[in-house]
Amino acid sequence: MSGFQPQKTERDGFLPIRTNGFDRGFISVVILILVHLLWMRFLEGVLPLGVATVLCLALAVFIIRKG
């Protein structure tokens, strides 16, 4: 029984589901892609895409730490 055992690192954060590290990273990437696509469609004429990237990276850090 000394084989590889997956570690259970799920926790409760501000997200509505219990998440582990992979979940929080995945959610951050999904949001990053979605926000960039919507930004290109609706906001890029007003604000450059770099703003979306900075906002999404900040959000990703927040989700990974507190989510």
Binding site: S2, G3, F4, D12, G13, F14, L15, P16, I17, R18, T19, F26, V30, I33, H36, L37, L38, M40, R41, E44, L49
Partner: protein
């Protein structure tokens, strides 16, 4: 530690194959998606385009309509197959059904037919002026059924064809799941006075969840990438009524040889598929957290 190494050794061939056939093409598509690459263009070489393909994509109404159409198709197909598949699974499990084994074999046959043959068969059945479906619909109900001119008829036929082809798979999965269910909780629920609906909703569905989840995932992913059947049935028409996303990508990548744009479309479709599957997984497994 030694056991762990042996485990990884056994996993190595499958991991290597998955890496070569899954991960490497994904990275390649990701790379191509950032380039303008059309072998039929004046300059057929790869030219750096950055996010331009994705920028074009979010303004491409043909692509967005195709994506929306595919989601509607997938929704109808998955829900119908799940409901009808469950009813059929229960019917084929009933002891009283005469000729049960014969029906089980017959209803499973469509699974083994190649999608291209399914599309060709349904085309022959439905082709206006020749197929038996329009003939009898006109004779019995007075319906002018025409998949070549009527968008609703074509869309409905695509759904029915997919049902005919893949519902047996859902039925078989659910039959396997239902057969493996332990009898005790069902008997206990009956003794406690639960009616059939309550037993179904509070006992059978929670115990069937792993099977339901797997079946829904497989069918959802299949429905989102329907190409060959639809190509044979309608070629995406009339107009673009049945041009689902897989077909739309195929048209852009092969006849038009627009590889960069096709790669971007493929990646966005993969993104939608993964997000939908993940949302479904979270919803069906009920991973509620403290913030809920």
């Amino acid at each position: 530690m030694r056991q762990s190494n042996i485990g990884w050794l056994f996993l190595a061939p499958a991991t290597l194959i998955l890496f070569v056939v899954g991960f490497v093409p994904f990275i390649y598509i990701l790379y191509v998606g950032f380039f303008d690459w059309n072998t039929n263009a004046v300059d057929p070489t790869l030219r750096w385009a950055g996010l331009q393909n994705y920028r074009s994509l979010v303004f491409d109404t043909t692509f967005l309509n195709s994506l929306a159409r595919t989601l509607v198709f997938a929704f109808f197909v998955v829900v119908s197959e799940l409901l009808l598949g469950y009813v059929l699974a229960r019917a084929l499990m009933a002891d009283r059904l005469w000729g049960r084994q014969f029906f089980r074999t017959m209803h499973t046959l469509p699974i083994v037919v190649a999608p291209i043959a399914v599309g060709a068969t349904w085309r022959l059945l439905c082709v206006p002026g020749f197929g038996i479906v329009p003939y009898y619909l006109k004779l019995w109900f007075g319906i002018d059924y025409n998949i070549s001119t009527n968008a609703y008829h074509a869309f409905a036929t695509a759904i029915i064809m997919d049902l005919w082809h893949w519902m047996p798979f859902v039925t078989l999965s659910l039959m396997a799941g239902l057969t493996a269910l332990p009898k005790e909780p069902l008997e206990q629920a009956q003794i406690d006075g639960g009616n059939k609906l309550q037993i179904f909703w509070y006992v059978i569905v929670p115990m069937l969840k792993p099977v339901l989840l797997t079946t829904v995932f497989i069918r959802l992913m299949d429905a989102l990438r329907s190409v060959d059947e639809i190509w044979m049935l309608t070629k995406g028409g009339p107009a673009e009524a049945t041009r689902f996303i897989g077909l739309h990508i195929w048209i852009n990548v092969f006849p038009k040889t627009d590889y960069g744009y096709g790669a971007a479309m493929s990646l966005l479709t993969l993104y939608v598929t993964i997000v939908l599957s993940w949302l479904l997984f979270v919803a069906m497994t009920g991973r509620k957290g403290g913030a809920q």
